[in-house]
Point group: C2
Chain length 388, copies 2
């Protein structure tokens, strides 16, 4: 064993991707003290994306912007070079997080994404035109109206008076004036990362599917959905683009819609991050890849981080093994096509709380055992493989 | 991968050794459909020994003998050929089981091992002189006085009247007449299997250590212990041997003492069973050994089945991997010296009840993943091993 690439996602709610990678390295080094371990902590555009990207270089900055209900938040973002140009990495949850107690104390009808627009303008002011925006973990359901307002658009009612960009007011919007929309956006390249494919409105839309967890009660649902659909038609007309029916328009309460309207394009978060972190280069000449995630099921094979990195490894002939916080056994047959072994960090019956509390040590131990098997087992000793 | 030996212990309370072995084979065959799997279901002399031994051949018989309180029990035993001679495999729990509701309904003071003596005589009547006796799971604490009585010894009091061979009466024993002890014992070879090293009496003796779980209450403890010690001196004098202080004399409530008095010798159950089942022959030319047990901790390395089979494998250069119901993580560093990987059947947080209920499927899945790792991982593909 000469070179091992360790490229896990974070274990959501437990460990960051870099913590996962380091724990795995710790275990492997007990078996091979001098093996080259290349750590590529991954992310999929959701929680942990900023940390993962910055673990490989770049600079962490922050900006004071408005949170979901206009209160001040200090939003972290990252700057990294890509292809000779600066790239900003934004997580909208830094602005309108579903775990922000101030924003969540107010009704969802009063929450807006204006601060996301402010954050983008702050980055534009730094001279940066390339954006990577992760859409996970928002508290908002404003169709992205706040984003447009924060970037200079003006929402007005019948009387041409300005209308606030939040769900409770959206039904009053009759005119959207984009003449003052930040002109620098036209020269910008915005990549949106999300694992949500829902359209903006309707029965599969943001309000119907993700609204309830943000506080959209059944009595509000139809009204908010109709208000967002109406606003969306006006915004599409104003910007001369259609986006409401696009997959992902319903991500982050409709931020996926508004970001597409201003030119953003969806890409697989894991693919983008893998490119950004140079995963393919890391895999060159590697003997083995270990990836991981907090929980594994059939969804893993639909483009989640472990699948993305395993396929990239396969292209270079590098086998991939999965270490997971927990694996749904029904997925094992399908996982077998992608992974040379799927292992959990559980060493026997245990509670989820125990698994989370001991996750780093458990991961190191699990990685060690996998290494011991490879190191000590038959084919490591030069026997003829594949004889059966 | 050409030949894999699968030699697990039973998962106590969940799966027999043969069930464990078959589940592991099922999983491995998903990876290598045509690999030669040699199943050697193991045991250590405790629960499951008879089943494991008979899974490899031989005949299951039974005999009607007296249970712990004189009620009738149908005691299963096995007959197998060894070195051209018939060998009987006895489990004393078939006669005086701690799970026998009739015996356990009576006080421990009334329970006796006479039926074990009867069972031995039954086997002697079949012309068999070789015995393998597993001592696990007894309900009795009679110092083996019952065994001696069942084999023809006579316990008597001051008045020369016969005294029953149970703890409540033992203090009255003043004379032990062994003139009628079955003479065929002298020509017999009795191998005793137990993982208990305690002496017969005293603070580390049978009554003090194992008595409580059989119903010896604190008020009875000193009295029973003294009675057993007194009986033991008489028995030793009568048979001209010392055994009370031997390691294992305190096994099975003192059956370990009485069996040694009549010539029995302790051996490691796992070693005896491995010999009997031809484990060494099975390992010849094998690429890999998988062993297993229900629960793994530091004790595993003190001569439990997985350790025994792994050391035999190592002597032939065959790496051994452990699949366990649950592994105490603190034992992993030490286990690493013996096993090429230790894996549990848990695929994430789960309860013990779930693990037991799904054990066969979980084991098959775990074995499959271990196989997939070996099959797909670096050194299986002919890369240079050990370069670090």
């Amino acid at each position: 064993m000469n070179k091992i690439v360790i490229a896990p996602d974070s274990f959501k709610g437990s460990l960051s991707a870099i913590e996962v990678a380091r724990a795995i390295e710790t275990g492997l080094r007990r078996v091979w003290p001098r093996v080259a371990c290349v750590l590529v902590p991954m992310a999929d555009g959701g929680e942990g994306t900023l940390d993962a990207v910055l673990s490989g270089g770049g600079e962490r900055r922050s900006a004071a912007v408005r949170g979901a209900v206009g209160h001040g938040v200090d939003a972290a973002f990252g700057i990294r070079e890509r292809d000779g140009r600066p790239l900003a990495i934004l997580e909208i949850a830094q602005v309108v997080s579903i775990t922000d107690p101030v924003g969540m104390a107010a009704p969802v009808g009063a929450r807006s994404t204006e601060g996301v627009g402010e954050l983008i303008r702050h980055v534009l002011d730094l001279g940066i035109r390339d954006f990577l925006i992760g859409l996970g973990g928002s508290s908002t359901n404003d169709g992205g109206a706040g984003l447009l307002a924060g970037l200079g658009a003006r929402l007005a009612g019948d009387d041409r008076a300005e209308v606030p960009a939040h769900p409770e007011a959206l039904a009053r919007v009759r005119h959207i004036d984009v003449s003052a929309l930040d002109p620098r956006l036209a020269a910008s390249r915005i990549t949106i990362m999300s694992d949500v494919n829902n359209p903006l409105a309707g029965p599969r839309g943001a309000t119907a599917i993700f609204g309830p967890q943000k506080g959209v009660t059944p009595d509000l649902q139809a009204r908010y959905d109709a208000a967002i659909a109406g606003y969306a038609r006006l915004a599409e007309a104003a910007l001369g683009r259609h986006a409401a029916d696009n997959p992902g328009a319903g991500a982050a309460g409709g931020l996926g819609f508004a970001l597409q309207l201003i030119g953003g394009e969806f890409r697989s978060g894991a693919e983008v991050i893998a490119d950004l972190l140079g995963l393919d280069d890391a895999l060159a000449g590697a003997d083995w890849l270990i990836t991981g995630e907090g929980r594994t099921d059939q969804q893993t094979l639909s483009g989640k981080t472990p699948q993305v990195v395993a396929l990239r490894a396969a292209k270079q002939g590098v086998p991939a093994t999965l270490l997971s916080g927990g694996i749904e056994r029904a997925a094992l047959p399908a996982l077998g096509a992608t992974f040379a072994g799927c292992f959990s960090l559980a060493f026997g019956p245990m509670t989820l709380a125990q698994a989370i509390a001991d996750a780093p040590a458990l991961l190191a131990d699990a990685a060690e055992q996998v290494g011991r098997l490879l190191d000590g087992a038959p084919s490591s000793r030069g026997r003829q493989p594949g004889a059966t």
